[in-house]
């Protein structure tokens, strides 16, 4: 991984063009009052000729061009940088795979991929804007000094008072918002709670009462809002008092200058403009805050880009039966060991049931065995090749997964089932996979069969699981991992699926996370996981004598018929609207 290139560079050519505009803009803005003053004085002296007017026209055109250019280039460079950063981020996230998902919550990753990139992308426009406005403000101040040093000194006396006042007022207003935010949060929480309990509310016929409960904080929210506006009003009023004073005093000094001939009438006009420019110094803190936010966003992006992806090599797999070996595999999560010292050899073509209490490390074992997550220590070998030495695509082709809660991507059901970099040609393999997963009937019940759009689906947890199995079943994998992939199907359907998969996957090595004794009994071997260690790897019958082994099956109640209704987890998997 090379050092993550900065957000500045990501804005590319647009950023460079923007920097040029940022140089020209202060020049135009500072020159404009001066050339105007020159022209006005020339007109007053009745010698307004081309020599006095040409600079005005040139500066006006330049200023207009800078404004147009800035408007366009700021947006374009921001969009360009965001696009570059998002692409880089996503490519890296795909390389990280589950490692990234383990380290950051999905919501956090989403916000880093979208919001942080777009925040980081503002670096170039904010920096250019800051420099340009700083140059303009300082230039304005210098111009005041040049026209009449008294004007400059006056500004230097008034500005700090103004700045201090603004800051003081800002903190007071900020305090008023905290209370408001808390009440808004309360209302929001109640709202989400009620939405989660919508089936209960519906069955109880209490919608009206729930609306009132959610909205109960509203009067307090309104009162707090009014307090906020009152604070704002005071703030605005007090700054409103200081500004006119500075303005009038500066005008009076300039007017006096006109009287004594120190200042020309044209310069009096310029003084008003330069005073406005110099006042810009007071709003630099806001720009600095924006820059700080952009830098914080950049850090959030960089954090992810700096995470090392799991190792990958360039080896390919030799022909083989799919024998799997784990050597001294150790995995920890958040500093806590999840798997410790796992050594296990699975002969090619064998079916291994992974058995253990919930939280024993079964799922982690399947993730490590199939190369979704690299072990923190130890090696996993597939047909003698360490997974970390394999080309990434080679590894992913060799192993297929079906999950307890599959997530589907793509447009249609067919697209979701064939979802892969190298999808199967034709429908035969998918049709067969659907039959082997007892899912053909599910597709038949859909409004448009395989062409049904994913967002039109209403499926139960068990049905989703069977489609997830079908998605894995058409692949030419030499290792298939079924992680609780039939837990939400009833036992009769599970038996049907198992029989079909036995036929379809003859000779393929299978790891099956199992909660039911029947599944363990049918497997060639049982890997009994207990508190992160491999307690035994043996046939079911041999282990049955151990009461601790039998207890592993009794703990959770039989089928949990799954997220049949509105479980939030299932919402993203295709059951929507």
């Amino acid at each position: 991984m090379t050092r993550a290139p900065g957000a500045l560079r990501a804005s590319g050519g647009h950023g460079a063009a923007l920097a040029l505009v940022g140089l020209a803009d202060p020049v135009a803005r500072l020159a404009l009052p001066a050339v105007l003053a020159g022209a006005v004085d020339a007109a007053l002296a009745d010698r307004l000729d081309a020599a006095a007017l040409t600079p005005v026209v040139i500066v006006l055109v330049l200023a207009t061009a800078c404004e147009i250019g800035r408007e366009i280039l700021e947006t374009r460079s921001r969009l360009r940088a965001a696009l570059v950063l998002r692409r880089r981020m996503l490519r890296h996230l795909f390389a990280l795979g589950l490692t990234g998902q383990r380290r950051w919550e999905t919501g956090d990753l989403l916000s880093r991929t979208l919001e942080a990139t777009s925040g980081a992308a503002t670096t170039a426009p904010v920096l250019v804007g800051l420099c340009a406005s700083l140059a303009t403000s300082l230039g304005g101040l210098v111009a005041l000094f040049v026209i009449d040093p008294r004007l400059g000194l006056l500004f230097l006396v008034g500005a700090p008072v103004m700045w201090w006042l603004l800051r003081w007022l800002l903190t007071r207003v900020r305090r008023a918002t905290t209370d408001y935010q808390r009440l808004l949060e309360l209302l929001s929480t109640r709202f989400v709670d009620a939405l989660r309990g919508v089936r209960t509310i519906r069955a109880s016929g209490t919608t009206g009462r729930e609306v009132e409960r959610v909205l109960a904080p509203l009067p307090r929210l309104r009162a707090s809002g009014h307090e906020f506006w009152a604070a704002q009003r005071r703030a605005g009023w007090q700054t409103g008092l200081v500004m006119p004073v500075i303005q009038v005093v500066v005008l009076a000094v300039a007017g006096h200058g006109v009287m004594t001939g120190r200042v020309t009438p044209g310069e009096l006009l310029a003084v008003q403009s330069y005073l406005g420019r110099a006042m810009g110094l007071l709003s630099q803190t806001a720009a600095l805050a924006r820059l700080a936010r952009a830098r914080a966003s950049t850090e959030r992006v960089r954090d992810v880009l700096a995470a090392p992806p799991p190792p990958a090599g360039d080896r390919t797999l030799p022909a083989g039966p799919g024998s799997l070996s784990l050597r001294g595999v150790h995995v920890s999560r958040a500093g806590r060991p999840v798997l410790t010292g796992i050594d296990m050899d699975v002969p090619g073509g064998a079916t291994v049931a992974i058995v253990g209490a919930s939280g024993a490390g079964k799922t982690t074992l399947t993730e490590v065995a199939g190369g979704l997550v690299p072990p923190d220590a130890g090696t996993v070998l597939l047909d003698g090749v360490p997974l970390g030495a394999l080309r990434r695509d080679e590894l992913r082709r060799a192993v297929a997964y079906a999950f307890e809660h599959p997530r589907f991507l793509g447009r249609t059901v067919r697209d979701a089932l064939a979802y892969a970099d190298e999808p199967p040609d034709g429908l035969q393999r998918i049709d067969a996979a659907l039959r082997d997963s007892a899912a053909a009937g599910i597709v038949a019940r859909m409004p448009r069969g395989l062409r049904t759009r994913l967002n039109r689906l209403r499926l139960s947890g068990g049905e989703l699981q069977r489609l997830g199995l079908a998605r894995a079943a058409w692949r030419d994998a030499r290792l298939v991992v079924l992680d609780d992939a039939t837990s939400s199907t009833d036992t009769a359907t599970e038996a049907e699926i198992n029989a079909a998969l036995d036929r379809a996957m003859a000779g393929v090595t299978r790891l099956i996370v199992a909660h039911r004794a029947a599944t363990a009994a049918r497997a060639d071997l049982v890997a009994w996981i207990d508190a992160g260690t491999l307690r035994a790897l043996a046939p079911h019958e041999r282990l049955l004598d151990d009461p601790a082994y039998r207890a592993a099956f009794r703990a959770p109640a039989a089928p949990s018929p799954g997220a049949a209704h509105g479980a939030p987890a299932a919402a993203g998997t295709g059951r929507t609207r």
């Binding site: 006005v40 007109a43 795909f94 509310i201 109880s204 009014h226 007017g255 009096l268 979802y419 199907t489």
Partner: protein, 593 residues
């Protein structure tokens, strides 16, 4: 939070504005103008803002007078006095702006209240009508969006009223000082406006397209990250990357298209502010020579153009263009959540049923016109006081049947009768009190335990709560929480099983005569489940249990199996003999250990 994301098709090229998105301005206008209160506040805001523009109106005139009769005439004191007068008008302007805050704050707070009320009411009713939890991420954004509306609206109202009057005042002051300049200024301002209208329209179209793209980007990225494990496991990272890259590029292109129009708009405004200035300079020698203008008047006119008109025009377009459009878009989006859908079931008033026997006759139900029916001409009779357990393979539609029994879902054919009366003709409120359905996901709201327990029986006293808690055997749990007046916080404070206990006790206390437990005990252990089911069986009325464990079937008087859209009811032993599907189900259940 990630959002639950509905997949969308991948299309090439920039997306057009969806046909169903309403014109952005309409909802905003309705929100602001529908209430007489709001109209009054707007009028007061305008009045104070007009007063606030007085300094701009006088600025050029006063500069002219201060120069001509003061500083240039050698009378410095007079010049200072005039400037002092100008300072006084500035203070007056600041005072007026301060007062403008009052109607603005009232208006903004009222609009926020109205939005929150409307959207909470609308989305909760819509969710209840559909019976499913919507994408809570998207819906909960409602509160933050209402807040954004509040901020945008306040900024828009303040800047719009201030700058509109300031621009008007600058033009008016200029005309008062030098009517000749009107010949140039007015046509320029008019043609600028004529140019800005189509430009702004195009800007809005492009901006809305870019917003749509932004939503799509968020949706697709969320879906991709949510599905990362599956994408990697499916060896589909290139596919997913390509899909997403298309959306991201389209988004950047749509934003760049907005910027182009913005740039054009900036140019037009610069022109409007600067052409009159050039014209003033060009005509200055003639005006001065002809005696039309004094030196002070020339400077005063320039002051109007440089410090009055230009900044005001710039701010005006900025606020209408950016703030107004974002605001309009947000309000339209919120309005989409605000509508109250018509009740799905006709709410005939009045009728109550004379008895409580439940009868399903020839009931057919399916999700879509082409999908296989969940219920197909199904018949079932549940006499008052019966205790039945409903079983069936997963995904067969047991929860749908529960909804149909409770009158929450209407069958497409056939009838459900309660005490001989068609459910559709019964009084809704009475029906909801009489039939209680307890779903798998327990709803416990932030409040005291007592509030939660007495939710359906508001008049229940402590003695009645005690009896229910004793009957269900959850006394230890209640004491562990800290008694009835303990505060049960939002989600996370209680385990799933504990939440289920609370909802079960709530329904036990309710006046419901028919109780349907839809896997309502799936998170409690088998012994507790047995105790609870037995308590409900002893309670007056009918009990329908949708089985989570086969043991529920053994406890029931009768077992109903749902298979291929048909219902078959019998005693456990008889059903074992009669229904191979049931035998299979029980066998596997036992086989599973």
């Amino acid at each position: 939070m990630t959002t639950a994301l509905a997949p969308r098709g991948r299309r090439k090229g920039p997306r057009r504005r969806p046909a169903n998105r309403p014109k952005t301005g309409r909802h905003l206008a309705r929100l602001l103008l529908a209430e007489p209160r709001h109209r009054g506040a707007l009028a007061r805001l305008a009045a104070w803002s007009a007063l606030g523009a007085v300094p701009v109106l006088l600025s050029g005139q006063l500069v002219a007078v201060a120069l001509d009769r003061g500083f240039l005439a050698g009378d410095g004191l007079f010049g200072l006095a005039v400037l002092g007068g100008y300072g006084a008008t500035l203070l007056l302007g600041a005072l007026a702006t301060r007062q403008a805050f009052v109607p603005m704050a009232g208006l903004v707070e009222s609009v926020r209240d109205q939005l929150l009320r409307g959207t909470v009411h609308g989305s909760l009713h819509a969710a209840v009508a559909s019976g499913r939890t919507p994408d809570t991420g998207a819906v909960s954004r409602i509160t933050s969006q209402s807040e954004r509306v509040r901020q945008l609206l306040s900024a828009l109202l303040l800047s719009l009223s201030t700058t509109a009057f300031a621009a008007g005042a600058a033009v008016a002051g200029l005309l008062g000082l030098a009517p000749v300049l009107a010949l140039i200024t007015l046509p320029v301002v008019a043609s600028t406006a004529a140019l800005l209208v189509p430009l702004s329209r195009r800007w809005r179209t492009r901006y809305e397209a870019s917003l749509t793209m932004e939503e799509l980007v968020a949706e697709e990225t969320g879906r991709t990250l949510d599905g990362m494990r599956d994408i990697v496991a499916c060896a589909a990272t290139r596919r997913a990357e390509d899909d997403l890259d298309g959306v991201l590029s389209d988004h950047a292109a749509s934003g760049a298209a907005v910027a182009t129009v913005s740039g054009m708009r900036v140019g037009v405004i610069a022109l409007a502010a600067r052409v009159p200035l050039l014209a003033l300079l060009l005509s200055a020698p003639a005006l001065l020579a002809g005696g039309t203008f004094s030196t002070g008047e020339l400077l005063g006119a320039a002051t109007y153009l440089v410090s009055g008109l230009e900044p005001a025009l710039r701010a005006l377009v900025q606020s209408i263009g950016n703030l107004g459009l974002e605001l309009g878009t947000l309000v339209s989006r919120l309005a989409a959540h605000g509508g109250t859908p018509a009740p799905a079931t006709a709410a005939a008033a009045g009728a109550t049923a004379p008895g409580h026997d439940v009868l399903l006759a020839g009931v057919t139900f399916r999700y879509g016109p082409h999908s296989q029916p969940v219920l197909s001409a199904a018949d079932l009779a549940i006499p008052d006081g019966d205790h039945v357990t409903l079983v069936g393979p997963s995904g067969v539609g047991k929860s749908t049947l529960a909804d149909v029994l409770a009158g929450l879902t209407l069958p497409e054919a056939g009838e459900v009768r309660l005490g001989g009366v068609d459910l559709r003709t019964l009084d809704r409120a009475w029906l909801r009190r009489t039939v209680a359905l307890v779903p798998q996901e327990a709803y416990v709201f932030a409040g005291t335990l007592r509030e939660n327990l007495a939710y359906l029986a508001p008049d229940a006293d402590t003695a009645r709560l005690d009896r229910a808690v004793d009957a269900l055997g959850i006394g230890a749990f209640v004491r562990g929480l800290g008694g009835y007046d303990a505060h049960v916080a939002g989600p996370g404070a209680l385990s799933q099983g504990q939440r289920q206990l609370i909802t079960l006790a709530r329904v036990y206390l309710s006046p419901a005569r028919i109780v349907i437990l839809d896997e309502a005990t799936c998170h409690v252990d088998p012994e507790t489940e047995a105790r609870i089911e037995n308590a409900f069986a002893r309670r007056d009325g009918t009990l329908v249990v949708i089985a989570h464990r086969i043991s529920s079937a053994l406890r029931a008087r009768r077992v109903v199996i749902l298979q291929d859209g048909r219902l078959e009811a019998a005693r456990h032993e008889d059903l074992l003999r009669r229904s191979p599907a049931y035998a299979d189900l029980v066998g596997h259940w036992h086989g599973a250990g």
